[in-house]
Symmetry: C2
Amino acid sequence: MDARIAEHRTAGVTLTVTADGAPLAGREVTVAQRSHAFRFGCTGFEFIPLANGEPDSAALEPVAERWLELFDFATLPFYWGRFEPVRGRPDTARLRRCAEWFVERGCLVKGHPLAWHTVTADWLRELSNPEILAAQLDRIRREVGEFAGVIDVWDVINEVVIMPIFDRYDNGLTRVCRDRGRIGLIRDVFAAARETNPQATLLLNDFDMSAAYECLIEGVLEAGVRIDALGLQSHMHQGYWGEEKTLATLDRFARYGLPIHFTETTIVSGEPMPPEIVDLNDFQPEQWPSTEAGEARQADEIVRHYRTLLSHPSVQAMTYWGISDGGWLGAPGGFLRADGTPKPAYHALHKLIKDEWWVSPTALVTDDAGQVRFRGFLGEYDISVADTTATVSVDTPGQAAAAVAL
Amino acid sequence: MDARIAEHRTAGVTLTVTADGAPLAGREVTVAQRSHAFRFGCTGFEFIPLANGEPDSAALEPVAERWLELFDFATLPFYWGRFEPVRGRPDTARLRRCAEWFVERGCLVKGHPLAWHTVTADWLRELSNPEILAAQLDRIRREVGEFAGVIDVWDVINEVVIMPIFDRYDNGLTRVCRDRGRIGLIRDVFAAARETNPQATLLLNDFDMSAAYECLIEGVLEAGVRIDALGLQSHMHQGYWGEEKTLATLDRFARYGLPIHFTETTIVSGEPMPPEIVDLNDFQPEQWPSTEAGEARQADEIVRHYRTLLSHPSVQAMTYWGISDGGWLGAPGGFLRADGTPKPAYHALHKLIKDEWWVSPTALVTDDAGQVRFRGFLGEYDISVADTTATVSVDTPGQAAAAVAL
């Protein structure tokens, strides 16, 4: 697996340093990685109050520091029923401030999701199906337009496999998806997002990892709808998938030649949810504690999971579903305990991302041709020679050439 | 449920009898049903030797008589690996004779299947993917063409949901489906069948009743492939589905506005297969006896299942998977025991099809307008007045008018 990670994620870089076109021999060069090309992401829902300077939110500063030490790809919540509980009063300003807060800190931001039957706006139920569809498309155009330049990555539509047959409660999206068909609705929502922000990265996202999602994707692609990346959820409240299942899943979905994002991963540090639970929402115990044994297991599984994902060339991003315990379902799925202290998984992931897979500032000396060589993960590197620093981007695995002209 | 059966399956018929254009009043008219519009079907694999007059096949005569008392829609086997185990030597003559044997006895015949990864030809594995596809399409054109007029109903392709990810053993169809995509392959095989016999009824058939099959169907329809009927398998070796699941399944697949065939139904009269078995092929006990209690239960479930199917207007046909015990998996799924004696389910189904849902010869007398009225199931009726018999077809539920001119 490490060999595949090296093959798909690293490059041997030959860097030539010149001044006035002539190679500079015997010069000390410091190479320091700035960022990863792979997107290490996490939800950032809890930082909306902090970014907006709301009362009592300063307590989140240490959590934010921990977050920013690990991640540079934030998912922010656009659940329609919470974003616009009263029609015409969207929570745009607060979300924008939070998105900007992340951008100011060097992060890429994704909005999640623009269309979903769960937590959709209740007021849709008073509308006819054509009105629901029109409101949904207007909503997409509004958010994608108003956030363009700050949020250019969107989970456009979520969980379409189950959407038209979802039978837990009545909602506008299930109605309109049943009426219009899965592919028809996907075509509509992607068209609305695409026409509003042609630069955006638009994802189809689902939790259903069965052949159903494959069939849906094949139908969507056959229908000529352009998808920029496939989102695979992977909440593992019932236990870590393991390498074999993860790689088999990746192979099935990599067949379409599209980039893959693991969009929603949770690995718990407590007792796993019983295997007989089908809808994870059905298991919400009053207490779901993180345990010492569970934390050790979680740290091991986190490392194995990230290694597995990076070993497969199709995966471009991984979003963990919450840095702190007590998020969705109250699960102990975070890297930080409820009291804010880091679990072993935090340290383990930090070691991977910012140590094993990271080039810390390293001093090298150029040869007679003015060259230094190093191997590093794909991403951006600061190259410093004396007082001058240049940034080079290493984008493709294998052998790479870079040049810095002083 | 009986009300829905009456609504969707019966008509009140007003029959006018005339002679030289004038109504014949006070004349005795005998109405006798000839056939059902609904297709009550069953596999007919075991009658290939009988139809071909092969040695020892005469023992099947009584089974054939039982078969023909209940059914008029036969499914015959075209599993490629058995039909053409040596390339270029297809079993066409024997199959054709058997198909003709059924047609001579008033039956409609379906061929099953033209493309499937299971029991496909082994020799495909020596070919490249383009060669496999070409051989598959040639095979379809050959069978559909050579049997046209005798077999005009085909399960064109079987179990596409799992086809490209089937991992039990290597086979040509999985390879080519993976290469070409599910929808691409479906388009190709339907085009080959359609162009060869534009009159044929062409089915897509699957055992996967999950959202995966829905998504596949939506993709296929979105891609503009014409499907004449959807085949839903329903082997119930693990227990009868019950009315609720059956109707919920029907509702999901009826959304596409296509006729539905229940293509492969089995209800066992022995112990059900344990629920933890996922691939039914994994359970093949040495002995799987029919029991007295099981036979009583089976008879009840058979009646409930047929009633449920006829209560839903989308269902046009129901094929039972084997009249005799000891067929697929050795299961006691037949209407006849291994010794050929009929089980309670046989009598129960006979009572439904040929009694409760059947107009036996009935004498009526025309009124002053030369009319008689009767209510019957959709199908064909022989109308006899004195020495003259005419056949009328009652095709649509509700009120129907028919006329016989002597």
